[in-house]
């Protein structure tokens, strides 16, 4: 390989944190903005080193780091990345410079604190995806709440305080029991190392209760219906950068948590409760889509579409076969870039018109064609048009779900139609039709500037790259997924006939 950097994962994780200290110390808002952008860009470039030195044939952890953190107790600082977390890390490091650049253009109040929080958030998010010790993971998982809470509460919309508190309290309450489960696992097995725990066999009541505690924490984070009520508030009230990060990355912590912790550590309980989660996921797909259909505010439409899209991811996750899980991992990335791009476009529109109500728009195609062109591509990507990224993920997930239990796949497929419906409706109301509102005339509205196009281009390029060459990504994802689904396969196949029976 070209050349490798020692402790690369730690560098990627903590570079933003160290950068945050400098950003806090330097003076001048412009300097803070530039410095933050540079730090996130450097972090992104460094994270590309993961791809350069990636070993496609290895399904296990790569770039492992293991240092004693709490030697007396055997709590270690373990960081590692595999095919499941690789693209989530890259997604994080890619979305950060984009959101920071967007904020540089439009955030002008308390810039220092804002940028520091963004960088702290980046450290927390990358840490969540790389930590392989349960306590270390938990620390990153919980810490990520603080910067996001402050971002929503300080720079958010009208109901920002309510939304911020709800976001924090919901997630914290959900993960409270997870900590007890972690302690119980630690007591039962004597280790907190995830790789060892995946081999350990946890028996008895802990298998059930431990899984439920983990599942609840992650279900709120995803969010799975009916734990989703914090999401519309937080997404709609958050500032644009916050919405992009929330939808693009923070929600993935939940689905990732299922794949990395809840299911591998508690395979039997996961198999037992799998159909229930699949049922909730399918309800979420339909519910999210139907609610999105009637939204007047385009931002809450995108928020509810997240509930639906994450339903697909969860359906793939609990299918626990190659197709389902690989599709789920890919769809996490797809949702990150598609919904991230959607929120970005909504944000760009909002900064121009200071409204997000669908009825205020119409006919924008005539006044700002470049914007609408990009908007169409983003909408299509989110709706799952073949040739773009969303299609690959949804198709593989549905395939996996069908192999596992056809009934869920059939109902979930309805969601694809609904998604096309609400997304195209939104597009029609914004871009097409007669241009009636004088505020939407091209004399009032500025079309996308070159720098704004530059923000969108990497995302749009990825739509096509994933859509046309999915194997570039799946080749890296599959080996790890194979390891994941093969190990518990023996256990998982046993209860299958019962669960199918129970559903019919």
């Amino acid at each position: 390989m070209a050349f490798s950097i020692p402790d690369l994962l730690s560098i990627i994780t903590f570079l933003p944190l160290i950068g945050a200290i400098f950003v806090g110390l330097v003076g001048g808002d412009n300097l803070k903005k530039q410095l933050t952008l540079i730090i996130t860009l450097v972090t992104f470039l460094l994270s590309l080193m993961l791809l350069v030195n990636w070993d496609n044939s290895n399904g296990g952890m790569q770039f492992l780091e293991n240092h004693p953190w709490f030697p007396q107790l055997g709590i270690n600082y373990i960081m590692g990345v595999d095919g499941i977390s690789l693209f989530l890390v890259l997604l994080t490091t890619l979305l950060m410079p984009i959101t920071v650049y967007f904020s540089n253009l439009y955030v002008n109040e308390q810039v220092g604190l804002y940028m520091v929080l963004m960088l702290l958030l980046e450290t927390a998010m990358i840490g969540v995806f790389l930590a392989l010790d349960l306590v270390l993971f938990f620390a990153f998982f919980e810490f990520s709440l603080i910067p996001m809470y402050l971002l929503i509460g300080r720079w958010g919309g009208v109901k920002r305080v309510y939304a911020a508190l709800k976001f924090f309290l919901y997630t914290f309450a959900g993960s409270a029991l997870m900590l007890v489960a972690i302690l119980a696992i630690f007591y039962a097995t004597g280790t907190l190392n995830v790789m060892e725990l995946q081999k350990a066999h946890i028996t008895g009541a802990l298998q059930t209760w431990g899984f439920l505690a983990f599942a609840l924490a992650f279900a709120i984070k995803v969010p799975i219906f009916p734990f989703h009520t914090w999401l519309p508030d937080a997404h709609v009230q958050a500032p644009t950068a916050g919405s992009i990060i929330l939808a693009g990355i923070l929600l993935k912590m939940g689905t990732y948590g299922y794949l990395r912790f809840a299911i591998p550590i508690f395979p039997e309980a996961a198999a037992r409760f799998g159909p229930w989660i699949a049922g909730l996921a399918v309800i979420g797909i339909l519910y999210g889509a139907l609610v999105a259909l009637v939204q007047k505010d385009v931002k809450s439409l995108v928020a509810y579409s997240s509930v639906a899209h994450l339903g697909y991811v969860m359906l793939g996750v609990v299918a626990m076969n190659m197709q389902g899980v690989s599709g789920a991992v890919l769809q996490m990335v797809n949702h990150g870039i598609s919904t991230g791009a959607l929120f970005l476009m909504v944000g760009l529109l909002y900064e121009r018109r200071h409204t997000r109500l669908l009825e205020d728009f119409g006919g924008l195609w005539k006044s700002i064609p470049i914007f609408c062109g990009f908007f169409l591509v983003v909408v299509m990507s989110s709706a799952g048009l073949p040739g773009l990224n969303g299609f690959i993920g949804e198709f593989t997930i549905l395939l996996g779900a069908y192999l596992k239990s056809p009934i869920f796949a059939v109902i979930a497929a309805l969601g694809v139609i609904l998604a096309a419906w609400y997304l195209l409706t939104a597009f029609r109301k914004i871009a097409q039709g007669p241009l009636t509102n004088p505020d939407n005339e091209s004399s009032h509205l500025h079309d996308l500037r070159p720098n704004e196009v530059a923000m969108l281009l990497p995302l749009v390029a990825l739509f096509f790259l994933i859509g046309l060459f999915p194997n570039l990504f799946l080749d890296k994802i599959n080996p790890s997924v194979q390891q994941l689904v093969e190990k518990p396969a023996v256990v998982l196949h046993l209860p299958e006939p019962q669960t199918v029976k129970a559903e019919q």
Partner: protein, 485 residues
Amino acid sequence: MPQIAALQINLAVLLPAFAMVVFAMFVMLVDILTPGTNRGSQNALPWVALAGVVVSALFCWWLWPQQVQSFQGMATSDHFALGLDLIVLTATALGILLSTNYIPQITNQVGEYYALLLLAASGMMMMGTATDLIVVFLSLEIFSLALYILSGLQRTNPRSTEASLKYFLLGAFASGFFAYGAALLYGAAGSTQYSVIASTLSSGAGNPTLLYPGMALLLAGFAFKISLVPFHMWTPDVYQGAPTPVTAFMSVGTKAAGFAAFIRVLLEAVPSQQGTWGMALAILAVLTMTLGNLAALRQTSLKRMLAYSSIAHAGYILVGLVPGTAEGADAALFYLFTYAFMNIGAFAIVVALEKAQADDALQNRAAGIADHWPMLAFAMAIFMFSLSGIPPFAGFFGKFFVFKAAVDGGWAWLAVIGMLNSAIGLYYYLRVTVAMYFEAPGDESAERRQSSVLRVGVVIAAIFTIIIGIYPALWTGLFSAGLGG
């Protein structure tokens, strides 16, 4: 004669506490020898007191490698006792940093203040050293009497005098309970010394009709000092009425001293009865956590909210004691260590926000301070997040170890209730950050100024809150006494 031969008096045991007493005298001398209310001499007093803390800490450091027993086993200086000393000294030092600017504004008797502070600390330190109920009683009275006076220091403020009187009356009752309990335990086991009580009880020779009432009364006495529900009634009033630096100091010091003595009694005197007191403590822990948190939700005064929060924290710490293991005792002590920084830090911000006269509705005073003093608000946010137990701050690992002890001891359900409680608690800690960061600043914000000494205190507390949380392994070594194990 064998009794004489066994007589052992090693004053080294008392050295850390003794240093505090000597420096208390020294403070009073300095105060008296400088004529009038000379501002210069008053300014020297906190540094004399701080020197006492340093000297005492040096004695602790010297004693650390030794295991000294003295007075026929009535006092022991082991790692547990020295761990408590460390917590009390931390609380005293931070308390002094909070006081330099504040105390001269509310009273002329600055000398008495620092002398009493050191005396109270000496009593608290003895609580961990005591291995005999009589010595515990003496230490309890030493620090309680000093605190009764300290909380009434602001004589012009009716709240302060009320706090003092209330604390004194209820405290006297609690001491009575304690003395009665000690007497009954003496009747049951024939001694007030822990090791003798333990061996008598484990051989089954104890008199149960005296033993159980005795244990219950001792429990009530301790429960008062560490403000466990339902013996917590005094806490909000006293915490709110007492001068804020005193509140900061006693919220940690009293709790640490009370818990330390309590732990010693549980693990060294009556470990054989764990089957009885385990469940009683579990119920008290549930009540204390839940009531403390629920009551804190409703408070409008920041000081009162912190008072109820301290009750809730007593509940969390108690969770660690329930299984009666050495691990739990160490966890409780470590928790108190983290609590010293985050709680006194929080009170330091209260001092900064408070004007000497009014003390009410501090939540209003906190509104928008992030705009005027970003660093102050940042520190307060750290303390609030740490108190609610969010990693990577110290409070998280405090909770982590306490709940780990409970889970390891087979009390997982107690840990579940504890974690649910910290989710409730999060709400009122977040309310402070909401006020600081999300609300518009009030009119008066701009005119307030803080002393630089106070700022040093805040910075120290904040730094420790972070580094203990990031690297707890560095500190837990100080709190691994392995008591009763």
